[in-house]
């Protein structure tokens, strides 16, 4: 019909996008205004956690190959997005991770050996103290988004100054629960931060096939909530944006949606995925040049805050931590069906009690 330029209407949103960045690929500060309010020591601390995550990724992969760990979704390449965001959060904030977000969960307070037990498929990995504000990694893509809205509303009703934060990937934004989560949080003005870690692929399906939207951040427009796209290979930008989002949400302004542009260097999981089937070597190389660790290392080197020796010593420490955690992991007791049965209900019905008795007897044999 004459008189309506639909492309122009669409471009009202599409044309407005900027990707927030603090450090460029060579570790130069390109946005002083957004430089985080962190001391040099704190920035070193942030970088050390990123190295920790990279080492954990490598060791987890090896431990999986040796059959000592089970499920693992590789994290290398996503350290700025994952660790940069976690670094901005408070201990009492409530984290709802997806299955690739184990590093944030551990940094939030889950003992590493419990993360390993979760990977192996042991219930003890999910036994969280009552005051640990976290849920186990979510498997159902999107479920954590609607739950985050609920937890954020609960925090608000209790008058808490804390926030709920959750993660999904680019594919996750196609789920109905993604929209329901951000929309509910918006409608209730609940303190939730929704992070979309856009690593370009939902297993093998490229981002372009998920949606006609130009960015995933702009999906916040429909829910009427603030949204921002961040260079997910830039830990300082991630920290600054997450910190600002946290302050905004905690102040009672409602939720924020953050899209991070990142890349996973490895496969989707270690269960047979081969990225060569859907990614080119050129593309992988292009992203490796944006490695979040290299960028931070270059920045710290220039300031004389880090060195090869320091990194070597730290890596050794991390490896030791992992070894110690594995000792605890391998000491975990054999799981019992009778315990599983006891865990289903608070008030155990007679039908279950009968089965508890049966399995308890079997287990004693």
């Amino acid at each position: 019909m004459a008189g309506i330029d639909f492309d122009k209407l669409k471009n009202i949103v599409d044309d407005k996008f900027e990707t927030v960045r603090v450090l460029d690929n060579d570790g130069n500060v390109v946005n002083k205004d957004l430089f985080p309010d962190l001391s040099d020591e704190q920035i070193v601390e942030l970088f050390k956690k990123m190295v920790w995550s990279r080492v954990l990724n490598e060791r987890s992969t090896k431990l999986n190959r040796q059959g000592r760990l089970g499920f693992f979704a590789p994290t290398a390449g996503e350290e700025a997005s994952q660790i940069g965001s976690e670094f901005a959060m408070e201990k009492e904030d409530y984290i709802l991770p997806a299955y690739r977000d184990v590093p944030q969960l551990v940094l939030h307070g889950l003992p590493l050996y419990k993360a390993f037990l979760w990977s192996r498929g042991h219930v003890d990995g999910n036994k969280y103290p009552e005051n640990f504000n976290a849920l186990p990694p979510q498997i159902i893509i999107g479920a954590q988004y609607v739950q985050a809205a609920g937890i954020a509303l609960g925090l608000k009703k209790k008058g808490s100054k804390n926030v709920a934060y959750t993660y999904t990937g680019d594919g996750g934004t196609s789920q109905g629960d993604f929209y329901e989560g951000i929309n509910f949080a918006g409608a209730f003005k609940a303190p939730a931060i929704f992070v979309v870690q856009n690593n370009g692929y939902a297993i093998s399906v490229p981002r372009a096939k998920q949606t006609a939207a130009k960015t995933l951040a702009q999906k916040g427009v429909a829910a009427g909530i603030p949204f921002v796209q961040v260079d997910g290979m830039d830990a300082l930008a991630m920290y600054s944006v997450m910190k600002a989002a946290r302050e905004y949400a905690a102040a009672g302004n409602g939720p924020v949606l953050i899209e991070t542009l990142t890349y996973r260097f490895g496969p989707h999981t270690l269960s047979g995925d081969d990225p060569k089937r859907y990614r080119t070597a050129e593309e992988e190389q292009e992203w490796k040049e944006k490695d979040p660790l290299i960028r931070m290392r270059t920045y710290l080197d220039k300031k004389g805050l880090w060195s090869e020796e320091k990194e070597k010593a730290w890596t050794e420490e991390v490896n030791k931590e992992i070894d110690e955690a594995m000792v605890l992991t391998e000491k975990a007791p054999k799981q019992k069906v009778s315990e599983y049965l006891k865990n289903v209900f608070v008030d155990t019905p007679a039908t279950i009690q009968e089965q508890i008795d049966k399995y308890t007897k079997k287990e004693a044999e």
């Binding site: 409530y94 036994k127 479920a143 609607v146 809205a149 609960g154 109905g176 509910f184 007679a350």
Partner: protein
């Protein structure tokens, strides 16, 4: 104490629990100012405020996520699913999340959530409003599924459900909302979960049923009595887990069983009851188990409801067949 309807008894139960425990939250589509499409939450927002009785955006999965998140943060959520036919939209929250959170987290958390929802045929709804989907819920470990058959039980069972630290799916048959009146105490009282009730004592045959079919079965029993057949009517009340003791005691007493449900033959709770009797009560049986249920089609177009839904006549016929075997 006054004679009242099931819908009023349900409102009274929520009123009692909102008053008793400030962690109780009632929410869903239209439950606030409007008081619910059936008026189940009528007047509650006025008394307890928008913080505790509130409307949600129109999205069942979001309501489920809200329930989970609120339970994790220490509340006792009582979400309403406007019609249980919409449960498919919230299946993950119920069956994939809330029912297994305690198990998943090694008993370190509890999920005191009561999902309420109207369901049931005979009131000429559009499709996906009336379906009997309790079987789907009953096959989900970690859930209790409760279906009252009248006002007295509805109030006591709903209070028990809300006080329970485990998740409950509480299904309210629409035809029962205003068709049956019973004496209902004004104060709070408990009807225990996991316990069936013998609604009519009998010696010749056990009619084991739940929900609206309890009413049809009681009417059938009256008719049968005139023909000299003394039927016992067992109301399951909590349809999952089953009260095996009460069921098996009745089977032992009468030796003959007719399982009655509004759900399709392949669905519902009767298959589980039949399995229980086959496993633990078969030596008491003097005849094959009889079944009255709906045909295995999706819920019918509403004009054909009355030919599709099981009724008193079907029950009388089946009971005679089993008694005369």
């Amino acid at each position: 104490m006054a004679k009242t309807t099931m819908i009023k008894a349900i409102t009274a139960a929520m009123d009692e629990e909102l008053k008793r425990d400030d962690k109780v939250l009632v929410f869903g589509e239209d439950v606030g100012k409007n008081g619910g499409v059936f008026r189940a939450t009528d007047g509650l927002q006025e008394i307890y405020g928008e913080d505790r009785v509130f409307d949600t955006p129109l999205a069942e999965s979001g309501i489920g996520g809200l329930a989970a998140g609120l339970a994790f943060t220490g509340f006792r959520p009582v979400p309403e699913i406007q019609f249980f036919g919409f449960v498919f939209e919230v299946m993950d929250s119920i069956a994939g999340q809330i029912s297994r959170e305690r198990y998943r987290m090694g008993a370190t958390r509890k999920m005191p959530v009561t999902f309420r929802a109207p369901f049931g045929g005979g009131v000429h709804t559009p499709e996906l409003h009336s379906d009997s989907l309790e079987g789907l819920m009953a096959q989900t470990p970690g859930l209790r599924v409760v279906i009252p058959s009248g006002p007295y039980d509805a109030k006591g069972l709903l209070i028990s459900a809300i006080r329970s630290d485990d998740p409950v799916v509480f299904l309210e048959h629409m035809k029962l909302y205003r068709s049956v009146k019973e004496e209902v105490p004004d104060e709070a009282y408990i009807v225990p979960l996991d316990k069936a009730a013998v609604k009519r004592e009998g010696s010749d045959v056990s009619i084991i049923t739940y929900g609206y079919m309890v009413q049809e079965s009681l009417k059938a029993a009256e008719d049968l009595a005139k023909e000299g057949i003394n039927a016992e009517v067992v109301d399951l009340r909590t349809v999952s887990p089953l009260d095996e003791e009460t069921i098996l005691a009745s089977v032992k007493k009468t030796g003959r069983v007719v399982l009655v449900q509004e759900a399709q033959a392949q669905a519902g709770i009767s298959p589980a009851v039949a399995s229980l009797i086959a496993e633990k009560g078969i030596l008491s049986l003097e005849a094959p188990i009889g079944r009255v249920s709906a045909p295995d089609t999706p819920y019918p177009f509403s004009e054909a409801e009355s030919t599709w839904l099981p009724n008193k006549k079907d029950i009388v016929e089946k009971v005679k067949e089993v008694v005369n075997f």
